[in-house]
């Protein structure tokens, strides 16, 4: 089935110069901001690694400024995009850029964004701008993912244990949240795992605390769909 929207073709309204390298970069930044939970917390050290075409021509397309604009929560048609690096500086956010080679299998427009938390922990998000401003997050902390920001999502960092999904889906069923897709990946049997549940409407805020009580959940995050 073809799931492209009319507005994937006509749109988005955006600040130039490139839909994949600028607007897509903003949306990658926005989505990883959601995955990092930056809307409520402040993470001052961020490493942005650029691969392929992002590395080769990113500067001319303002890919760097685009990703940072997204990390700051700006939308792709916000004219402050061109000053986003200064804006980050003014907010005491340290951002370092590096050009890297993520291998032949990586999409040409790939960026890996790593957050360094004050407590020494890290979170890395790898995503690609796949054309026309559309993006796909392919990896979170080394777990394979397929997240494009078109739907609201809930991400669980948890242990791979019997019954985990049954508990989660059972709870969601009770409050009539419709699930569009579920993806679980794990490092190995019985070890750390990541589950992404895409849902058709935002989760009611008060159910997050209940979901957090499910055994073996380390971390839980609601990622809003992209505007």
């Amino acid at each position: 089935m073809n799931t492209y929207s009319a507005f994937d073709i006509i749109g988005p309204a955006m600040i130039g110069p490139s839909s994949s390298h600028t607007a897509g970069a903003v949306r990658l930044g926005l989505l990883s901001r959601g995955i990092c939970g930056s809307a409520t917390t402040f993470y001052p050290n961020i490493l942005i690694e650029l691969h392929g075409s992002f590395a080769a021509t990113g500067e001319g397309h303002a890919t760097d400024r685009g990703i940072v604009a997204g990390l700051l929560g700006l939308l792709p048609d916000d004219e402050r995009l061109k000053d986003s690096l200064k804006l980050a500086q003014a907010n005491d956010i340290n951002i370092e850029f590096r050009k890297v080679d993520l291998g032949v299998n990586a999409h040409p427009n790939t960026a890996r964004i790593t957050y360094f938390f004050p407590n020494g922990q890290q979170l890395s998000v790898t995503g690609a701008s796949i054309g026309g401003g559309n993006v796909r997050i392919q990896e979170i902390d080394g777990f394979e993912t397929d997240l494009n920001g078109e739907l609201d999502a809930v991400i669980f960092w948890h242990m791979d244990r019997p019954g985990f999904l049954a508990r989660v889906t059972g709870l969601l069923a009770c409050i009539e949240v419709n699930i569009a897709a579920i993806q679980t990946t794990r490092r190995m049997r019985n070890s750390e795992a990541l589950t992404i549940i895409k849902i058709d409407a935002p989760l009611p805020a008060d159910c997050m605390s209940v979901l957090r009580k499910i055994p073996f959940v380390h971390r839980l995050l609601a990622v809003p769909k992209l505007p």
Binding site: Y4, I10, G11, A13, I15, P17, A56, T57
Partner: protein
């Protein structure tokens, strides 16, 4: 359901329900998004207005872009259009100016609408705004034409690609020319079959275009290319409205575009590692940019 993956399916639904591609595209959007017709139509209309603003803004640009690789050509072409002896006639010369103007706006961090991408954002807006002036079409009619474009565009997105990094410039300017030609035909009352023929003419004559912009900036050749391929769309629509037969289907054209894109070396897919991007003049241009 109004779902389709190929142009053949699209045409059969249009034929069965006796509706235009634009109307089918709108009904499909209502189904997949769950939003109302009014809401979807209003969003598309806002896009049309943003397009018109991006043209006006670009026509006023007199200063070079930050890279120094563009700026001021759209204004020159508009002046030439109004000079009374424009080689292409006044209307089509204005079309060139409009399409260049959007790309100049884009290069100066202005607001544009990606149609389907930023690098090809001049063609559809230029064609529709010219139609608005020459044929006095209403904003609603032109918004409907944008749905014609999106209706064809989703087929290309689903079966090939829209990004220069994946398929070269044929994926960007080729797709834009294709969906603009189809929109022109439907806006002027042509049938869905004729709209697809226009799209086919546009696409089969852009196959093989590579993406090799100088310095990685969406300016050379992108600004002039948008200007020139707006006329290409106009010509494709002309062939279709005249009843000419492209001999291959739109699905075939999209198949060919994908095949060529897959064979295209990565140096010619938006990496600035080949072609115009590495010609001797490009190095000089970039050097002078750095010094300036």
């Amino acid at each position: 359901m109004h779902d389709y993956t190929t142009a053949a399916e699209l045409l059969s639904i249009c034929d069965r329900e006796k509706i235009s591609i634009g109307e089918l595209s709108l009904r499909r959007e209502i189904e997949i998004s769950g939003r109302s017709r009014d809401e979807i139509f209003a969003k598309m209309k806002t896009h049309f207005q943003t397009m018109r603003t991006s043209i006006r803004r670009g026509l006023e640009i007199r200063t070079p872009s930050p890279s120094g690789l563009s700026g001021g050509d759209a204004a020159k072409v508009l002046e030439y259009a109004q000079s009374g002896n424009a080689l292409l006639g006044e209307d089509l010369t204005r079309l060139v100016a409009y399409s260049c103007a959007v790309l100049e706006t884009n290069a100066q961090f202005g607001r544009i609408v990606a149609t389907p991408t930023a690098g090809s954002a001049g063609i559809v807006p230029a064609c529709l705004v010219l139609l608005e002036e020459t044929h006095h079409l209403s904003e609603d009619k032109l918004t409907q034409a944008l749905f014609t474009s999106s209706g064809i565009g989703v087929i290309i997105a689903g079966n090939a690609f829209l990004a220069g990094a994946q398929g070269g410039c044929q994926a960007e300017v080729g797709s834009a020319s294709c969906i603009a030609a189809a929109a022109i035909v439907e806006a002027l009352g042509g049938s869905p079959e004729r709209a697809c023929a226009a799209g086919t003419f546009a696409l089969i004559n852009t196959l093989g275009l590579v993406c090799d912009p100088i310095g990685g900036y969406v300016e050379v050749p992108c600004v002039s290319r948008n200007g020139m391929f707006a006329v290409h769309s106009w010509l494709a629509a002309t062939l279709a409205l005249a009843g000419a037969n492209p001999r291959v289907s739109l699905d075939d054209a999209i198949f060919a575009m994908r095949d060529i894109g897959r064979r295209m070396p990565r140096e010619l897919r938006e990496t600035s590692l080949g072609g115009l991007a590495i010609c001797p003049g490009a190095c000089t241009l970039q050097k002078s940019c750095r010094q300036g």
